[in-house]
Symmetry: C2
Subunit: 341 residues, 2 copies
């Protein structure tokens, strides 16, 4: 006698719509938006949180030592993007019975020590699969003049990348095919049937994916110099550039020919049936800094950055090829509430 | 021709042995040990991290609104135990496709707002099951004279509990039998076949288990008064008292007859084939403060604390019954690396 009701199903939520909604809530106080949140008296600290979940961010059989270093590197990249110096770490770790906790923690502590970072607390749990969340607190570098924000890009700024893009996404593809990084280095899957000359680049791509290098020195340099925006490229160059532009109320022109690609990336991508340029623009997990500087200011050459374009007044984000043809650069990349981009 | 080797299996790790090992590492700088870590210039802040994992800390079908409040309450209890005022929160959340993110966040933000807490950042991921880690940063309450530490108990101190113990563990038992807390209140499982007069206490126990009340006002009072140790009872009164005594280099005498038990707990425990005293001593997740004050200092009666014993010079931890018979109080309770205590 009661009408049969369709069960109320929540609409499929995108990360972007959820974060935009959160940012308008009074209890978030306008802090949602940067790679880390600034807090404390005299804005002395930043805080960032990032997780690594088995089967989502890494293969469940990853060595505990590598997982610990990856977890730390991904989080340190957020501090790098703020121009912050690593200070304190807090870990929440859930793992199944039999997980080699001391191998994980030994590796985490050694890597933390190399960055002057102290593990100050955390939470341990037994759980069905490995899930690790790391909270990092960062301080100002000596001589720092500012925190880096994604909202500080201005029309006329030059746009830079701190390293190559696309190789991490290609490494992920190889991991999906069965590539593994262990104590003896990278093993490549037979399934990929890679020619011998492609194998060194393939090994580098797997290593780059599983063990990214956070650009802390570049973040420190930027925090001491000039003005400009910064963000770390975690969800794809296109998506993170769109985020920077939206936060800054500006647009950008990217010169396709200037995109820094790792040596050997293009033939390797072809061999795997992938497009190097798509990987570079939308692959994600590059963990290099995307940043701007006022025209005429260039980063220290030792930091090996590449200028890839400029910020413009027009809010469009466009890609220009070598012949000068412009096309819109779509906001493609990872959405963390979807399984795949 | 190679001798067959037994595969190297890590020894089953206990939380205690792992934490003791971590505490000796140079990269933890002696900070591991309290409910939260003290940091920053003039020790102005404390930080704590705690997780809630589906199937481990809560039933996977728990309403997102209740989960959000439980996650926050469990973390706030750590701030209460430090005598800290909630300031900033950072969330790492992994959940399967279809999780009602806005119901979860709406509830989390409302609860945060009630405590003057701001959600300042976080990390979202799609994952096979729900796993949430919350990092809280606490500040000093106005008029606070100290942070509360578990190492500050001294022989002669009176020992207090901020509320009843054992009812949360009984609530967990009911949840295992099928009890649920939803928007219409607690539903009790038929399987428990509870008499009508036991049902109100059963409903209170389930609510107490799923929605504990962090004792922030008590923590604030203690931070402004006298001297003494504090810890929140998360892993069982016996275990957390042992931790306090070990950190303070002292022992304790607990008067069994003084243990505060919730109204109706004993007959309810009997009906479920459980022992109320064992639940009170080793059940865990009570989230009340266990604390000491110098002899003659009593907490504000409005805080409704109960004196349960005293700290002694002898390092033994003993339980004394109404007839004056003493027995050792074993270090029983949760070990978060085992599945069950």
């Amino acid at each position: 006698l009661c009408p049969r009701r369709t069960p109320r199903r929540p609409p499929r939520e995108s990360e972007r719509s959820l974060v935009e909604w959160l940012a308008t809530r009074p209890q978030t106080a306008g802090r949602i938006g940067d790679d880390a949140a600034i807090f404390g008296p005299r804005a002395a600290h930043v805080v960032t949180v990032d997780s690594q979940i088995a089967g989502v961010h890494f293969p469940a059989d990853l060595e505990p030592e590598i997982l610990a270093r990856r977890l730390l590197a991904v989080n340190l990249s957020d501090l790098a993007a703020m121009g912050a110096r690593p200070a304190h770490a807090f870990l929440a770790l859930a793992a199944p019975s039999g997980f080699a906790h001391r191998r994980f923690f030994g590796s985490l502590l050694r890597a933390a020590g190399r960055h002057g970072l102290e593990l100050a607390g955390g939470d341990l749990a037994s759980g069905p699969s490995i899930s690790a969340s790391l909270t990092l607190i960062g301080e100002r570098w000596p001589g720092a003049r500012r925190w880096l924000r994604r909202s500080d890009a201005r029309p006329g700024d030059d746009l830079f990348l701190g390293g190559t893009v696309g190789d991490s996404a290609l490494g992920l593809e190889l991991v999906r095919l069965g590539a593994r990084l262990g104590r003896r280095g990278v093993s490549l899957p037979e399934a990929a049937s890679l020619d011998a000359e492609l194998r060194p680049a393939a090994r580098r791509a797997v290593r780059r994916h599983l063990l990214p290098t956070p650009q802390l020195a570049l973040g420190a340099w930027l925090s001491r110099h000039a003005r400009g925006a910064a963000i770390d490229v975690s969800d794809g160059l296109a998506r993170d550039l769109h985020r920077m532009c939206a936060a800054s109320g500006a647009g950008a022109v990217v010169e396709s020919a200037r995109l820094p690609l790792a040596a050997g990336l293009e033939p390797l991508a072809v061999a795997l049936g992938l497009d190097a340029r798509s990987l570079a623009l939308g692959g994600g997990e590059d963990y290099v800094l995307l940043f701007t500087l006022p025209e005429g200011v260039a980063p220290d050459p030792a930091l090996r950055c590449r200028r890839i374009g400029r910020i413009q007044h027009d809010r469009a984000v466009v890609l220009v090829d070598a012949a000068g043809r412009a096309e819109p650069l779509a906001d493609r990349g990872w959405d963390h509430l979807s399984d795949r981009p």
